[in-house]
């Protein structure tokens, strides 16, 4: 565990150094820069000395269990909560130096579905569009675009009370994107919905990103973060415990890989032969199921397959287990994301 954190710290410092050099040269435009953010609720520290830098065009994933400090961080970015210390810049500006202008370029998809049940889908989007200064034809066109984008164009005259959970979530998103924001903050936008709606939303997030929006996406579903995010930060107890892209995070914990092989007949000489291959740390056979634990860097998979093929056993199936973000979180905190 200590070793993992040391590796992370080294990587993190190196990453920051490279990033600092590139940023100094003006090659990367920063959308959000948070330095030393601290937020306390009485004696409880919700966010503890957090630094975040989000580049333009990223889908930035903030991963962590409930109570990790994700929503508090989001509220701090939006100026919805007073912070105890730290500095937050959005589009290079401090919120107090142009709150209204900055907010015009941000869209927020709150964790709870925050729409008016007594306004139709179209009216809900119109209300929020007007708050962002849209008027007349531009408003009308933007409403239709938002409805179309979220697949609700055919339901625009309907009231949300007739909507499924997934449709409400999509309307929640439509209200956030009507003004075409440069930065979209999505706070757990897929909680409690069916897989089809979840896929629709994840696909929408990627499309919005392709259309030029930078996205901050918080979730405690590691599969979602893994699927769509280009940069990931893992939070726990208000602190950042890991940062990088998906592969980099997995690298942090994984020096070995597990290969599961199902063979046609039991042959114990295979076990000894595989154990003698360079890089293999362990090999066990349990009822035609062979489990090989090997050094990831040894690249010995072809030799393992060849060794099995040289016996009278056939390979029925083979699976190389890859590390997951869940595994990363488990390794770093000793808990699973849903604990």
């Amino acid at each position: 565990m200590t070793k993992v954190i040391e590796v992370y710290s080294f990587y993190h410092c190196f990453y920051k150094l490279i990033f600092y050099i590139i940023n100094k040269k003006g090659m990367i435009k920063m959308i959000v820069e948070i330095k030393s953010l601290i937020k306390r609720y009485k004696d409880y520290i919700a966010v503890d000395n957090v630094d975040i830098s989000i580049k333009e065009g990223e889908i930035f994933g903030l991963l962590g269990p409930n109570g990790a400090g994700k929503t508090t961080t989001i509220n701090a970015i939006l100026g919805l909560t007073n912070i105890d210390s730290g500095d937050i810049k959005i589009f290079g500006r401090n919120m107090r130096d142009g709150e209204s202008e900055i907010k015009k370029s941000i869209g927020i998809v709150p964790q709870e579905v925050s729409i008016f049940k007594d306004l139709t889908a179209e009216e809900n989007i119109a209300f929020f569009g007007k708050l962002y200064g849209l008027r007349g034809k531009m408003l009308k066109d933007s409403i239709d675009e938002a409805l179309n984008f979220t697949g609700l164009l055919g339901n625009k005259k309907e009231f949300p009370k007739a909507f499924s959970g997934g449709m409400k979530r999509r309307l929640n998103i439509a209200c956030a994107i009507v003004h075409k924001p440069k930065l979209i903050i999505m706070d757990e936008p897929t909680v409690g919905i069916d897989p089809q709606s979840r896929n629709h939303i994840l696909h929408s997030v990627q499309k919005l990103n392709e259309m030029g929006s930078t996205i901050i996406y918080t979730s405690h579903y590691m599969e979602e973060i893994e699927e769509i995010c280009t940069d990931i930060m893992i939070m726990d107890h208000g602190r950042i415990i890991a940062h990088g892209n998906c592969d980099e995070l997995k690298e942090l914990i994984s020096s070995e890989e597990t290969i599961d092989v199902e063979i046609s007949s039991v042959n114990y000489t295979i076990v000894d032969n595989i154990k003698s291959i360079s890089g293999v740390r362990d090999c066990t056979l349990n009822d035609k199921k062979l489990k090989v634990i090997s050094d990831k860097k040894s690249k010995n998979l072809s030799r393992i397959i060849e060794t099995i093929s040289n016996t009278d056993s056939e390979i029925l199936s083979l699976n190389v287990e890859k590390p997951t973000l869940e595994g990363v979180f488990l390794t770093l905190t000793g808990r699973t994301l849903r604990d």
């Binding site: 100026g79 909560t81 941000i106 927020i108 709150p110 925050s114 008016f116 009216e123 708050l131």
Partner: protein, 383 residues
């Protein structure tokens, strides 16, 4: 500044639209008072009508055969007196007293045997009036008539004592000037149209409570605050929308009761509308302040729902209270319903309890204080 105004109008517009679509609240705010006014106005109609007073039955025993006894005979048999009293004679004092005690007559008038003699000698001369405890105002009528005879006799005696003959003239002492009550005092329908309107305007505070909860306690509010709209724009827009909603509801109730129930709303509808507007502002401010100060919609609602019946009762909203108790009079002025009701009744019937502009001025001042406190607290609200 233009953007501020547009944002305020935008929030107000959607607030009104949503309130109109809120059928449950509309039902409470429109149907409930309309039904309540009908029930109370019909059921208690007789309590509000001036009663016709029939003749007061009185027994009369005159034991004096002298001049004064005859004079009283003449007096009590005048036509004017006969319109008021039904004078009956009794065979004995005991019999007459028994009838009076049994409620068969309001009083017994008895003149002593030596009444004329005593009067002539300047001594104490008595006309006795006996009544039972339940005779009420009828006994007072009898006593007043007897007193008027005695006053006349005493005046005559005084004139004689200074050597002049009294110059008797017949005066019509009871003039026939019937009181026209129609439109001058409220009937039950008129009364409850006003008091139930005021009560329901107070229940409009619920709109204020919910409106503030939505913007400052619930997630939708956070989303709105994450937009470029300023807190004061959101606050003013929401308050204006709610006031407009409550005010329109009050106008609907007034028009309905005026044309369907024929309730008397007087001739100065502009002033009635001004009073309703003042009270709409007050109830909105009260609901908003309660929500923001308690930071909990349900607690605020509970407190308001306890206060409204108390305010309504103190103002005489359920039953008219004509108490002369000074403490009660001081307490009832604290009821905002009383201030609004007083202003409306004054406008319709011209009765001066508190000046209209004093009443509404108090309501506006209280509203302003509550709204400023709410706005200040709202600006400090953070997630």
């Amino acid at each position: 500044m233009g953007g501020d105004f547009v944002n305020i109008l935008n929030v107000a517009y959607y607030t009104i639209k949503r309130n109109i679509r809120d059928k449950r609240s509309l039902c409470l705010m429109l149907l409930f008072p309309i039904v309540l006014i009908l029930i109370l106005g019909t059921a208690l109609d007789s309590q509000f009508k001036p009663q016709n007073v029939d003749k007061t039955v009185v027994y009369y025993i005159n034991n004096d055969n002298g001049e004064m006894g005859k004079a009283f005979d003449q007096f009590i048999n005048q036509d004017e007196i006969k319109e008021i009293l039904d004078v009956k004679t009794a065979d004995s004092k005991e019999e007459a007293r028994g009838i009076v005690s049994g409620g068969g007559a309001a009083a017994l008038i008895e003149i002593d045997e030596d009444f004329t003699a005593s009067y002539a000698l300047g001594e104490k001369a008595n006309i006795h009036v006996y009544n039972n405890n339940n005779s009420g105002f009828r006994a007072s009528v009898v006593r007043n008539i007897v007193d008027s005879f005695i006053d006349g006799a005493n005046s005559g005696g005084a004139i004689l004592s200074i050597g002049k003959m009294p110059d008797y003239k017949t005066f019509t002492t009871i003039e026939d000037t019937p009181l026209e009550t129609d439109g001058k005092i409220p009937g039950a329908m008129d009364y409850y149209a006003v008091t139930m309107l005021v009560m329901i305007l107070m229940y409009g505070a619920g709109y204020g409570t919910y409106g503030m909860a939505e913007d400052y306690l619930y997630d939708t509010g956070n989303r709105i605050k994450a937009s470029p709209i300023k807190i004061h724009e959101l606050f003013i827009g929401k308050i204006l929308g709610i006031i407009f909603t409550i005010f329109c509801q009050s106008m609907i109730i007034i028009l309905f009761t005026k044309f369907v129930y024929k309730a008397n709303w007087g001739n100065n509808m502009a002033q009635i509308a001004y009073i309703c507007l003042s009270f709409s502002v007050f109830s909105t401010a009260m609901g908003s302040a309660a929500c923001i100060l308690f930071k909990n919609e349900r607690t605020a609602d509970s407190v308001i729902n306890i206060l409204i019946p108390i305010f309504t009762f103190l103002a005489g909203g359920y039953v008219p209270i004509n108490s002369s108790n000074n403490v009660f009079a001081s307490i009832r002025v604290l009821s905002p319903n009383f201030l609004a009701q007083t202003a409306i009744f004054k406008t319709i019937y011209g009765r001066e309890v508190l000046d209209i502009y004093t009443s509404t001025g108090i309501l506006w001042a209280a509203s302003l204080i509550m709204l400023l406190i709410s706005l200040a607290a709202a600006r400090r609200f953070k997630a």
